[in-house]
């Protein structure tokens, strides 16, 4: 399989282990990633706050570049990126009168032919192969955390169930993990308030961490860099808010799958987390 790849900015910096683990896992599964050349930021959670047209033009440039490279499908592992790309694509479909202005801004033709997929969709296609190649089952209890942007708004993302999604749970079961019953699957972590309103992030993410532990989870599994950085980089603030030391690690789904495939924890970027990925008995994790 060959697929276009849009890593996005977080995957070059604060969430580079998501990029590393995505590349490592897909390589192990013989998927060739073709990175979109000279890609730009999608505008994430900022552009739409300040200017609607900008929030469409930024993703449109990425999609137009992918079209020019002859790509028909691109994987955007970051949930915020895939959400913004899908939003822009649909806005332009719904409002063709905007197209001329957008094409003028991006200085390229835009056809809207590229299919945008998230990491869970790609892993799901490879589920049988992953199950067959699993050498070290991830025999842990896990809380599958989808967050907001993978499943909402349903009319934009059209992916899984918006209230009780199942795709990540299925993948985790395929690699030997046991997802716990967890009502926080799609609750918000505080998203882009990480820097400006850390108090809100501590509270919202704190509730998630507390309940995941209460339900016996050994790890919280995520597929979004913002969710991960709030649960991992902001753990000190979370623990201060909760007045307790919670040590449950937050892991990317690609890291969990990678461990199950027997890949080197370092190649999966496990050493980059603030909250160490350590369990009472180890499952393919050597520290």
């Amino acid at each position: 399989m060959r697929i276009g790849y849009y890593p996005g900015c977080s995957l070059l910096g604060s969430s580079r282990e998501f990029d590393e683990s995505t590349r490592a896992v897909l390589k192990a599964l013989d998927v060739e990633l073709v990175e979109v050349a000279d890609w730009n930021c999608c505008g994430a959670s900022s552009a739409h706050i300040l200017n609607h047209e900008l929030s469409i033009a930024l993703p449109a440039r990425i999609l137009a570049l992918a079209e020019q490279a002859g790509l028909t499908e691109i994987l955007a592992p970051c949930a915020a990126c895939s959400n913004r790309l899908l939003s822009a694509q649909q806005e332009l479909e719904k409002h063709p009168e905007m197209l001329a202005g957008i094409e003028k801004a991006i200085e390229m033709p835009y056809k809207g032919t590229v299919k945008i997929v998230n990491i869970l969709e790609v892993l799901d296609r490879l589920k049988d192969l992953i199950a067959a190649k699993t050498v070290e089952p991830f025999a842990k209890k896990v809380a599958s955390y989808y967050g907001c942007l993978l499943v909402r708004p349903p009319r934009v993302v059209n992916f899984d169930r918006p209230e009780d999604p199942q795709s990540m749970d299925r993948m985790l079961r395929a690699v030997g993990a046991t997802p716990v019953e967890w009502p926080f699957k799609t609750e918000c972590c505080g998203a882009a308030f990480s820097v400006t309103r850390t108090d809100i992030v501590a509270k919202l993410s704190g509730k998630l961490v507390q309940d995941a532990v209460k339900r016996g989870a050994d790890a919280i599994v995520v597929a979004c860099p913002m969710c991960h950085s709030n649960l991992d980089l902001r753990r000190a603030e979370i623990n201060e808010y909760l007045q307790q030391e919670y040590a449950i690690p937050a892991m990317f789904i690609t890291q969990v799958v990678g461990l199950a495939l027997g890949l080197d924890p370092k190649a999966l970027g496990l050493h980059r987390h603030m909250v160490p990925v350590e369990f009472a008995e180890t499952a393919g994790v050597q520290s």
Binding site: L12, S46, H52, L54, R152, P153, V195, R197
Partner: protein
């Protein structure tokens, strides 16, 4: 929805401008309160989303002004829980985006929006000049704009050790194109 929605037709009301710009009809909201019930930050808002809509439905200048000046619109995380659960499929975060823009345009934005705005402006500046988000630059720029110089000074060295802080920006090749893109969109207003 022609009956009982007289407020939709007064061109000087915020409700009318919302509809013109976003296509969302505020008259569709029948005040079930589901949006506020599911909103993760409703408890922090001076005015939860359903109340914002109720105020706008009146179409009265003094209520429009209270909405434009409230803090709640700046706390919306765009998590889309409200719009997903809304029985009338009102696209609430889209309305919030527009109202925030109007609050800025009319110089009525709540004073506590300053930090949040500083962050978004720093974010967009970073993209405009480099094409990609430069996280170190973003945080530095935010500190200067918000004057919160000591925020997260302890976190940065830890992130550096973990290889999570690139000290140099990632520059795209077509930076001229990026400037042009900004000029043609946000730079027009």
């Amino acid at each position: 929805m022609s009956s009982g929605s007289h407020h939709d037709h007064h061109e000087d009301t915020l409700a009318w401008r919302v509809q013109q710009a976003t296509g969302v009809k505020l008259a569709h909201c029948y005040q079930c309160g589901k949006c506020a019930a599911g909103c993760p930050v409703a408890d922090q808002m001076d005015m939860p989303p359903c109340q914002v809509f109720r105020m706008l439905q009146y179409g009265l200048p003094q209520y429009d002004k209270r909405v434009l000046g409230c803090e709640g619109i700046w706390l919306c995380l765009a998590c889309e829980t409200c719009s997903t659960r809304c029985p009338q499929e009102v696209e609430i975060p889209k309305i919030m985006d527009f109202i925030r823009g109007e609050a800025l345009r009319l110089n009525l934005a709540h004073p506590r929006s300053k930090d949040i705005l500083a962050f978004h402006r720093a974010f967009l500046d970073s993209i405009e000049y480099t094409g990609r988000l430069y996280e170190v630059g973003l945080v530095a720029d935010y500190k200067v704009r918000s004057r919160h110089f000591l925020k997260d000074v302890m976190l940065a060295p830890k992130m550096y050790i973990k290889g999570k802080l690139g000290l140099l920006p990632h520059l795209i090749k077509n930076r001229r194109g990026m400037k042009h893109l900004f000029k043609q969109t946000i730079g027009k207003g």
